[in-house]
Amino acid sequence: MKSLKRIGAVVLAAAIASSLAACGSSSGEKNASSQADVSALVNDYGFQWEDTSKPILNEKGSQEIKFSVYSSKNASALDYNDMKIMQDLYDQTGVNVSWENVSESVYSQQKSLIFGNSENRPDAIYHAGMSSGEIIKYAKRKVLVPISDYLDYMPNFKKLLEERPDIESQLINIEDGKIYSLPRIEEMGLLEFPNLLFLNTEWTKEVIAAGKVSGISESDLKDGLTLTSTQMSQILAYFRDNDMNGNGKTDDERPLSFVYNNWQGNQCDLYGMFGLNDNLEHRVIVDGKVTYTVTNDRFKEATNFIANWVDEGLIDKVSFEQSQDNFLANGKGMETYGAFYWWESETVVSNPEHYIVCNPLIGPDGDQTICVSNNPEIGTGELVIFSDCQYPEVLLAYFDRYYDPFVSAQINYGPIGIVYEEELDGNGMLVQKPLPEGVTTDELRLQNAPLGVINLGEYAWNNVVHMEPRAKLRLERLEKVAQPFVDEKVIPCPNLQFTLEELNTLSNYESNMNDYIRTNLISWLMKGGVTDGDWETFQNDLSGKVKLPEIQKVYQDAYDRYSGK
């Protein structure tokens, strides 16, 4: 028995020791790249970074350095190793990048595992989707390469930062003043307004013919129509009560639809009727001040007004429970949507020609404004490099090429030879190839373009690549029905960088505050509105246990730093 005990103890000790050894043996000292390493790279591999039209390393096929990069990809994209643009870049730069792809849906769970597997990390993560909070914490642990230390090897990115201090200040880590990630920049001016109001003209004509709406005639029914909330409610009530699509049923018409709290086509613009520039975070910058719309008393008024529409059936209640896919599927086939909020009408309904885009609604007190979302056009944290990477200067010089506008365009839309012609047009711009039989633009793009690290701004749109026709159409619409109605004091909240202490405040309180607002808001909207008593409790809770003022202060401080105050 004694001997058995001893054996048991030895086995136990061995097991514990081995498990501890597994987590104890760290990967030795990081070989910090020094000047000597770079000259070795120059001698051995012909490393050069100054001339961006020449290869970075020796010609393909000679002595190579291989990098492994981990990336999520969308379901219809080819494996990045097989993408023509990636092979072209290999030919042009001589840098051999081997891609490891996972699907987008798995990535968010994989991310922690990649960071957790400290023995065997890839050199970099593309489409990393790193929040500033994650970056700051990993940077403190020296897991990530401070990219700003290598700016000399990145002529395109360096120039970009010099030209755009605003982008630089969205990237810089407050704690140590360094940059740890490469951004994605696609400035089209499309993301700020994710909701446009579309109205079914065929149905509205019937309303006008029936004399059930005052103040508009059939000739008014064109893009840029302005309706008051009263006119809108008259029209929606008629849609609700009549068999508009002529299938013999009066209950399958959906007067006004949206997808509650979706990133596009949500309920926020209804609050514009009350002069509130609401968005999903309920947070905007008004006159340089970080403002939460939910603390405004007009928010109560607006909520009650909208809840009344829901109660009367003018807003389809399914808007609060449906997913984006349900919403899109319901638009096809039999016409059921009277009016809806969405990015564009073409993807929603099968007959977009029946729908016009309207100006923001005028509220009962004469307010008319469009809401601005905080969807940033500059995505920070798109690419991070691990400090285990042996030659970060080479890999960064490679990814710097992505910021060349011609490469950016191909990364974003697809390569020359598949999506674009080999020859440029008279203005030196890329020319779209005719589509192959049986493929749509979107399919071809998603299949051949990795998206990600790009810089497409005004210069690119004017000199390198034409915007897609759909994007152009939307821009025209926005110019007509959105831009004129933006309150000039209001701007969206940009990407902000926080200190560790501020991040602690946010991670302690912010998600709870969002949940608190969300649960209250939906119950008010669904159940006929908010009573004065409930509103008072809500306000007291916000400033009390939910700690909204603390959160607001964090954003205000971060914004003041950003705007250089």
């Binding site: 501890l20 760290s26 209950d251 429970e321 991670s507 649960t519 939906i522 119950s523």
Partner: protein
């Protein structure tokens, strides 16, 4: 226990060697998969990011900060309440139901019919959770079967997935519908061991079918019932996150946010805060252990049965 001499002890051990060897794989599995990973709970006491070493000079120890943070969290009481209520209602319905079903199936005079119903009752257990919630959405969605019938009868449509009041009934009833047949199997097995002689004796004494259930069947499965009772009380707060998460909408978040879903959200989504999530999970497990010990002690005192 009587004293055994040393010689006898060695004999006994030698006889047992084949059995011990047979036991070894099970012990090893439990050790490696259930006991060894326990050292991971140490991250509940750290400021942890994926990739950090659990034991090293660079580990940032924070003591009980994650726990005090949870106790001060505005979500603390709602989470406890939601988890507790969901589990207690689930338990009140889900515990007696399989016993009743087993007793009634056993009481059927035709054994073939009993088997037939048992199979039907067991089948839903094999529906996966995702499919189950999908079915719920099809049946109880705003334009689903139930609402269509209600609308056909001139009633208001009701958004079952957006109402706080509908979440617990939907969750509990659907779970029980799925599992009552499966849980009944263990009682049916116990009932089949009841000595037919006892039934015959009771019948001769003039006992009715119902009296036989009360005085013969139930006493026979009582040990099984108390063991199952202790085990389900031990798992009372241990509800999984998957189903609640699938059924969660903004509308029912106030009642559908459970400790388990909160742990999932904090630990794996957004900016992962695994240390905090681990602390909450650990706290939940401690509650479960305490409940289990209480249940076991009470059971020991009031009946002869206990787990240990």
């Amino acid at each position: 226990m009587q004293a055994i001499s040393g010689k006898k002890r060695i004999r006994r051990f030698k006889d047992g060697i084949p059995y011990l060897i047979m036991l070894l794989p099970a012990v090893a599995t439990v050790f490696f998969f259930n006991y060894l990973p326990i050292y991971g709970v140490l991250i509940a006491f750290q400021d942890f990011m994926p990739g950090d070493k659990i034991f090293s000079d660079t580990t940032i120890w924070v003591g009980f900060r994650n726990f005090t943070r949870f106790f001060g969290d505005v979500q603390f009481w709602p989470l406890m309440k939601n988890t507790f209520l969901l589990c207690i209602f689930g338990f009140l319905i889900g515990f007696p139901l399989p016993i009743i079903v087993a007793l009634s199936l056993n009481a059927l005079s035709r054994k073939k019919a009993g088997k037939f119903f048992q199979t039907i009752f067991t089948a839903p257990h094999f529906i996966s959770l995702v499919v189950m919630v999908g079915m719920l959405q099809l049946f109880f969605g705003r334009y689903g079967l139930v609402n269509n019938i209600a609308a056909g009868m001139g009633l208001e449509r009701f958004s079952y997935f957006l109402e706080n009041s509908a979440f617990r009934p939907l969750y509990i009833l659907s779970s029980n519908w799925q599992d009552f047949g499966w849980s009944a199997v263990i009682y049916i097995a116990a009932l089949s061991n009841v000595d037919p002689g006892q039934h015959e004796a009771a019948m001769i004494d003039g006992a009715s079918r119902f009296q036989r259930i009360i005085h013969v069947d139930i006493p026979a499965i009582m040990p099984m019932i108390s063991v199952m009772l202790i085990m389900s009380i031990g798992g009372l707060m241990g509800v999984g996150y998957e189903k609640a998460l699938l059924m969660q909408t903004d509308g029912n978040l106030a009642v559908s946010e459970l400790i388990a879903t909160y742990v999932y959200k904090r630990g794996l989504t957004g900016v992962p805060d695994q240390a905090y999530a681990t602390a909450i999970g650990l706290f939940n497990s401690v509650i479960n252990v305490v409940l289990l010990i209480i249940a076991n002690t009470l059971s020991k005192r009031f009946s002869e049965n206990s787990l240990w």
